[in-house]
Point group: C2
Chain length 216, copies 2
């Protein structure tokens, strides 16, 4: 099993037993997350922006408008941090101090570069589209030359990363287990509801099966 090397940048100091550095664990969380939060620093001022992502091997692809300041900053070669977080539940402990959440998060680091070649950009948009909704690329209008030109694709080789995971029930102080307080977990799930057709949909177009059966 391959791992990211632990360095000052990615090593988890606080609760290190929750940390994982192996590609498999990290990539699974990255792939499950609908969106990521991208952090950049400009003159010591951080900015954190939500966006969608797709992983392709050991790289992450991000996209946005050519005019995006965020993407311009990234393509200039500045280091970035990308974080994804999945919340799995509330952990209700007997002691308020031990309240927690069950979560799976990844923090990764790298320096991005722009994909210029139109074919490479098109493949990246294919990956971004199909990751969110498999089957859609072949049943939609594909990007025009003008649209491709208006889109910036950033490829970010993942230099360093860590996953942090908390699962299971509350961990309380020994003496508190005998007391009268309830304790447990309230699981949380992200649920997609039934698709809503565009009110402007041309009549006679059924909901396609890849939409009807959509879930993650």
């Amino acid at each position: 099993m391959s791992h990211f090397i632990k360095t000052t940048r990615n090593r988890v100091k606080r609760l290190p037993e929750r940390a994982a550095y192996d590609h498999e664990t990290i990539y699974k969380i990255l792939d499950e997350a609908l969106i990521c939060h991208v952090g950049i620093a400009q003159d010591n001022q951080p900015f954190v922006i939500p966006t969608i992502h797709v992983r392709r091997g050991d790289t992450l692809l991000l996209h946005g408008a050519t005019t995006s300041r965020l993407l311009q900053h990234i393509q200039a070669g500045n280091p970035i941090c990308v974080t994804v977080t999945l919340i799995d539940g509330l952990v209700v402990a007997r002691g308020v101090f031990h309240n927690s959440m069950n979560y799976r998060s990844v923090v990764l680091f790298g320096v991005g570069h722009i994909l210029d070649d139109p074919d490479a950009k098109n493949r990246a948009l294919h990956a971004l589209t199909e990751r969110l909704m498999p089957g859609r690329w072949d049943d939609a209008r594909l990007p025009s030359k003008k649209e491709l030109k208006a889109t910036t694709i950033i490829e970010l080789p993942i230099e360093s990363a860590t996953a942090k995971i908390r699962a299971g029930g509350p961990k309380d102080d020994a003496e508190d287990y005998e007391r009268e307080w309830w304790a447990g977990v309230i699981p949380l799930e992200q649920k997609f509801l039934a698709p809503q057709s565009d009110p402007k949909l041309r009549s006679g177009i059924p909901v396609p099966s890849y939409v009807k059966n959509f879930k993650r």
Copy 2:
């Protein structure tokens, strides 16, 4: 209605029609989000860390271990950025280029300081606990002196903030509305499931009503 002033830091350039600067819109999103992503910059290297938060008036409270590098960096007076994002659905457009998500996000900026006074810390922990689960503070073991000491509370006056909101159906190119592709929205919701009692729960303790009826 009071607003945050638009500056270079918080002004939305891309799709400005999605932006809002009024306190009411921004605070509602902040209060609904279970967690936030905190960004800091150290020597031009950004770090983005998920954590829980609670808003109290025009300030945000964050907490963590006294040993936390993140909190130490914040309490040293460095500027930080806090972002929360709620995803409301996938927007499936006829043109791949117009695919989107419905979301509500807030990006805010400020400089934090530490709360030292034990009573102030205790009130902050009360706010953090009750925000997630109203009713719990009065039915749990409250923080001990030692636990309070091990906890750092950061108070962050919100200097500047923006909300960005996308809602509604796809927006396609005029000529694509006549074509054969389905288009619409797949709504997404965060759903809490039935509470799971701790397997180590002392027998005879029922699930309290504030847990049974828990939802956000």
